[in-house]
């Protein structure tokens, strides 16, 4: 079975080691994972394959050791074995940047969702102290049948409304 493991806490050395030690001792195999410092917190997101004898609840209990030692928020939940198939389409990169304000992620993602555009990768960062600039970069698949020009027009209208800059361009991959 596969479980999603998340753990978040104030960054300090040893968190990744302590969490992955418990996963290893439970016979878990870390498959896709991402760990990063977000706003000064160390955030771990992992998809872990567990042996049939293990279960999510007992793994979460076992992680209470590192959770207490490092003051982490930890959750373990079962997830589907295989990711669902997504519709064929064309990949685009959307870059949004401007003065920080609440609602940028929500409005951009809502616009994309209204065209059935599937977000596959998204990251945001606030840069600068006095006049912080908000930067969001995401990748998304425009499904066959959706009109990329309409998506772009709606994003441009949104950028004017939110006073942020938006770039939308196809992601060109070349096989060599």
């Amino acid at each position: 079975m596969h479980v999603a493991v998340t753990a978040v806490g104030a960054d300090r050395p040893g968190i990744a080691a302590a969490v992955s030690k418990v996963l290893y001792e439970h016979g878990g195999n870390v498959e896709d994972s991402r760990m990063a410092i977000l706003g000064g917190n160390f955030a771990m997101m992992l998809i872990v394959a567990l042996p049939a004898s293990a279960d999510a609840a007992s793994l979460e209990r076992a992680l209470s050791g590192p959770a207490e030692a490092f003051d982490l928020i930890v959750a373990v939940r079962p997830v589907a074995e295989a990711s669902p198939e997504h519709a064929e389409g064309t990949n685009y990169v959307v870059t949004v940047y401007g003065a920080d304000k609440p609602g940028i992620v929500y409005r951009v993602c809502s616009t994309l969702a209204s065209h059935r555009v599937n977000v596959t990768d998204l990251a945001t960062r606030i840069v600068g102290e006095e006049r912080p600039v908000y930067v969001m970069i995401l990748e998304a698949t425009v499904p066959a049948g959706a009109d990329a020009a309409e998506v772009e027009a709606d994003l441009k209208a949104l950028s004017a409304e939110l006073s942020v800059d938006v770039a939308f361009h196809p992601l060109e991959e070349e096989t060599l």
Partner: protein, 167 residues
């Protein structure tokens, strides 16, 4: 022999530095196999001998008709290539038939001058720019046992599961 099977990582030949090739009939046969294998995959613009299981410093490229090509020398088959000059830098997302499940943002020189010889032994010097220059560098990397994963600096920022792969 025609089109050959394209090896996939972790096949050891892909991570082995290849040996120089003597011009002559054997090199010409290898060249024909490389071109046949490249032509068998419509999206393929280049292939190196280690990818078909031959640890020899030979490759072919052809960026004809490619929308991003700045220079285009048509079909180029080269043995024992050396990049003698490189300048500029450009980042583009690359895929490789030997790593079919990944793509990555790879920084490479924008312009290169490559010296080598034809399979018959004729000296070749080619100046390439843009996509063709990238193709030369990608194939010449294969001859040194290097894959595009050896050229990226960040797994999270630069390496992506391939969402769609057109063979």
């Amino acid at each position: 022999m025609g089109a050959r099977e394209v090896l996939r990582y972790p096949h050891a030949t892909l991570k082995t530095a290849a040996a120089d090739v003597e011009p002559g009939p054997a090199a010409e046969q290898l060249a024909r196999d490389l071109v046949d294998t490249m032509r068998a995959s419509p999206a393929c613009v280049g292939i190196a001998a280690p990818q078909i299981g031959v640890s020899a410093r030979a490759f072919c490229i052809d960026v004809s008709g490619h929308r991003r090509a700045k220079t285009n020398h048509g079909l180029v088959v080269m043995i024992n290539p050396v990049v003698v000059k490189r300048d500029g830098r450009d980042v583009m997302r690359e895929g490789c038939m030997s790593l079919p499940d990944l793509t990555a943002n790879v920084g490479r020189a924008e312009r290169v001058t490559v010296e080598g010889s034809s399979p018959q032994g004729e000296r070749l010097t080619i100046e390439a720019e843009g996509f063709e220059a990238r193709a030369f560098q990608h194939e010449i990397d294969h001859l040194a046992g290097l894959l595009f994963l050896d050229r990226v600096s960040s797994l999270t920022a630069d390496v992506f599961p391939r969402k769609r792969y057109d063979r």
